[in-house]
């Protein structure tokens, strides 16, 4: 397959990650579209034989950072909001939409790392390369993001039980 065909095959994967990262449906596809435009125009910079998916995630990361920079002065802002201690829930059941809402409230840097590792199954090294940061940064962001997520989802007992998912 050509690089171009490979890219097309990976579009659903990019959309999934974008949806998790950007949240809203259209915003996520805008992110994918901008990523693809950039990827098509920068395809000559892609080194054949290296991981195309990782390269595309790097492109998306850069586009995402630029988008956020451009949007920084827009309101309402949801980013970098401190997480609130949620009132204790009646059950220890983690509802999926709560997880989505909690992911939304993570700092974008932490959200990216968490999704690359937990959703995209990247190793710390791969995530570090995709984000252009040292591996230690990936680990500390992951650790902090995970702690925040845990705190937000008070349905998740601090010491113990596994996540229980209900649809």
């Amino acid at each position: 397959m050509s690089d171009a065909e490979d890219i097309v095959v990976l579009i659903p994967r990019l959309r999934r990650y974008a949806r998790a990262l950007a949240g809203e449906h259209n915003a996520a596809d805008d992110l994918v579209q901008d990523t693809l435009e950039r990827a098509w125009s920068k395809l000559h910079l892609y080194r054949r034989g290296t991981d195309l998916r990782a390269w595309l995630f790097t492109v998306m990361h850069n586009v995402y950072v630029n988008q956020r920079r451009a949007a920084r002065n827009n309101v309402p802002l949801d980013e970098d909001m401190p997480e609130l201690a949620q009132p204790a829930r009646e059950t220890d059941t983690l509802v999926l939409r709560d997880l989505d809402a909690a992911i939304r409230r993570l700092a974008p840097e932490q959200r990216e790392v968490l999704l690359l590792v937990a959703l995209e199954d990247m190793s710390y090294g791969e995530a570090a390369e995709a984000l252009g940061v040292p591996i230690g940064t990936v680990m500390s962001r992951l650790s902090r993001g995970w702690e925040k997520l845990r705190a937000m989802l008070s349905g998740l007992p601090a010491g113990g039980k596994q996540l229980k998912i209900v649809k």
Binding site: A4, L36, M81, P82, L84, R97, I103, L142, L163
Partner: protein
């Protein structure tokens, strides 16, 4: 990270949950605008796409609806700034510059003030103590709310605080807040008034200021939240 079996198990559970949440995207048809090889020349933004669908008329109505509303179930759209936040900003702009009558009931009658407002709003209110973050209570007032509940006129409360330099912030509290699932802090700017707002069960809060930075205001908002949710 993920150094103990416990943490490994939790990360794995998180991973499974994320897949359950986002994997359906993999099965969605890829929109045409993303399949176009040279998207640079076919830069259709979602709005334009949606508008185009609508323009196709009734026949495309179903499609347009799909295009506009297709999001995975259970995930709410990006919240708009609620009306009460706008009203809070307006109330801040109107009352905070007042020199002689900034409040109806002063902080010297705090107990009466809180009891009165609690009675009128039908919910136990508290005036948080913000001395630790540099603000002291000036007093409060009762205000009409735009929305009425079951035909009965609704009321909201405004608490006003002031720092040593005279800068004022107001905490606007309303009951029967809708969408009470949402408890995150949000930020909005209405004109030159900055507002942090959040909804906690039935109470909606909006903390407004025109004169202090977002960071300082956020710090105060945190203090308010902590006190109201010990």
């Amino acid at each position: 990270m993920a150094s103990t079996p416990q943490e490994d198990a939790e990360l794995k559970a998180l991973s499974q949950a994320l897949h359950q949440l986002y994997d359906p995207v993999l099965d969605e048809p890829v929109p045409e605008r993303l399949r176009a090889r040279n998207v640079k020349h076919a830069r259709w933004r979602s709005v334009a796409v949606a508008a185009g669908w609508v323009a196709l008329g009734l026949g495309a109505g179903v499609l347009a609806g799909w295009q506009l509303h297709d999001r995975r179930p259970g995930v709410p759209p990006q919240a708009e700034v609620p009306g009460f936040v706008k009203r809070a900003a307006v109330a801040h702009a109107v009352y905070s510059p007042e020199v002689r009558h900034p409040v109806e009931v002063g902080a010297d009658q705090e107990q009466h003030l809180v009891a009165w407002l609690s009675k009128r709003l039908g919910a136990p209110l508290r005036a948080p103590k913000l001395e630790d973050v540099g603000y002291s209570l000036v007093g409060g007032r009762l205000l009409p709310d735009e929305s009425s509940v079951a035909g009965a006129p609704a009321s909201v409360a405004q608490f006003m605080y002031q720092c040593k330099q005279g800068t004022r912030i107001t905490l606007y509290v309303r009951t029967n807040a809708v969408g009470n699932r949402e408890t995150a802090f949000r930020f909005a700017a209405e004109g030159n008034v900055k507002v942090f707002y959040w909804i906690d069960r039935k109470l909606g809060y909006a903390l407004s200021s025109a004169d202090i930075g977002k960071d300082v205001l956020m710090n105060v908002a945190n203090a308010v939240y902590q006190q109201l949710n010990p």
